[in-house]
């Protein structure tokens, strides 16, 4: 059945009427969103939203550079290490040989105490004594 036949047939709504329905459907404002859907959509929008302050250019690069060092605390550690290096350089600890000498001299001041401990006698237990001691412990 062609279009003209539709327009004349009592079994079909004519094309003009159908087009009028389409036109009205196009022009009608859509219904507002259901509240629950509105809330879901707004939640998605906030969750997917980029950060409010977006850094660009030099500031962004500087922030990235700071982050490479672990942020401000990391950068403070690097600065402290640098200052320590400068201090060591200015204080002039002398040659490495002097440092070694100073180290062993310090060790010598400790050695009498160690020697005294050793002079109390060697910590040696005879094999038979050790077995006797183990048996006593086992019998307890």
């Amino acid at each position: 059945m062609n279009q003209d036949a539709n327009n004349r047939s009592p079994d079909f709504l004519d094309d003009a009427a159908l087009d009028a329905l389409f036109a009205q459907a196009c022009d009608d404002a859509p219904a507002p969103l259901p509240d629950a859907l509105q809330a879901r959509l707004m939640g998605d929008a906030i969750a997917a939203q980029p950060r409010r302050v977006r850094q660009d250019g030099i500031a962004a690069r500087f922030a990235g550079w700071i982050a490479e060092f672990g942020g401000v605390p990391g950068l403070a550690g690097v600065a402290a290490a640098g200052l320590a290096g400068v201090w060591i350089g200015f204080s002039g600890p002398g040659l490495t040989g002097d440092l070694v000498t100073e180290f062993w001299q310090g060790a010598a001041t400790v050695s009498p105490t160690v020697s005294g401990w050793v002079e109390d006698g060697p910590l040696v237990v005879a094999g038979s004594d050790l077995l006797t001691l183990m048996n006593d412990e086992a019998e307890r």
Binding site: M1, D14, A17, A20, F22, C26, D27, A45, P50
Partner: protein, 197 residues
């Protein structure tokens, strides 16, 4: 004749959708709400017309809007309108769901026979808009999608063909059969809808 509607929506007065999307991308939550109010109701209506299922239409709306939010930082102002982009996304999401619902390609769906007149009488009720939506619900999926996209969304036949993954001739056939079926379904309400014989 197809009309321009949500497919090529004119933007409300005030800031353009592009500008609002840019504001959203800069962190302005108020812009998100305004965009939602402008765009989402039409998306939901389109999805509901295509899917004839409120829950699925809401899911599609949520999915489509989420895609818009995600693309906002990279949105190129001056190109396609956000409403047009959103329309295409919605149509694609809805047609994908129709395919999955049937488990076969949309163009392979067997069309059912005519519904009983009593069923039609029971379903077609209310004013013209409601009558049209109710009649659309009675069309087979492929016919309904083609009619909605052509006559309510203003898409061209080649665009519909690309969206549905079928040929242009098939689209023409579907829209013609869909319109004819609608005319048949609605004739019983001619007087009630205010049309003269």
């Amino acid at each position: 004749m197809p009309r321009d509607s949500s497919y090529q929506m004119t933007e409300p007065e005030g800031q353009s959708d592009d500008a609002l999307l840019a504001r959203y991308a800069r962190g302005d939550a108020a812009a998100a709400r305004e965009l939602l109010d402008r765009l989402a109701p039409r998306v939901l209506r389109l999805a509901r017309r295509l899917l004839q299922d409120q829950a699925e239409a809401e899911d599609v709306t949520q999915d489509a809007m989420l895609r818009l939010w995600r693309i906002a930082p990279d949105w190129q102002a001056g190109g396609a309108k956000p409403s047009t982009w959103l329309h295409r996304v919605t149509v694609n999401l809805a047609t994908d769901r129709l395919r999955r619902r049937r488990g076969v390609a949309l163009d392979a769906i067997e069309e059912p026979g005519d519904p009983a007149p009593a069923v039609v009488e029971a379903m077609i009720d209310g004013d013209r808009r409601r009558a049209l939506d109710d009649a659309l619900a009675l069309l087979p999926d492929r016919q309904r999608v083609a009619v909605v996209l052509r006559h309510l969304e203003g898409m061209t036949n080649p665009e519909i063909a690309a969206t549905m993954g079928i040929g242009v001739e098939a689209v023409e056939s579907l829209t013609a059969r869909g319109k004819r079926r609608l005319a048949q379904l609605l004739v019983g309400r001619r007087d009630e809808l205010g049309f003269e014989r």
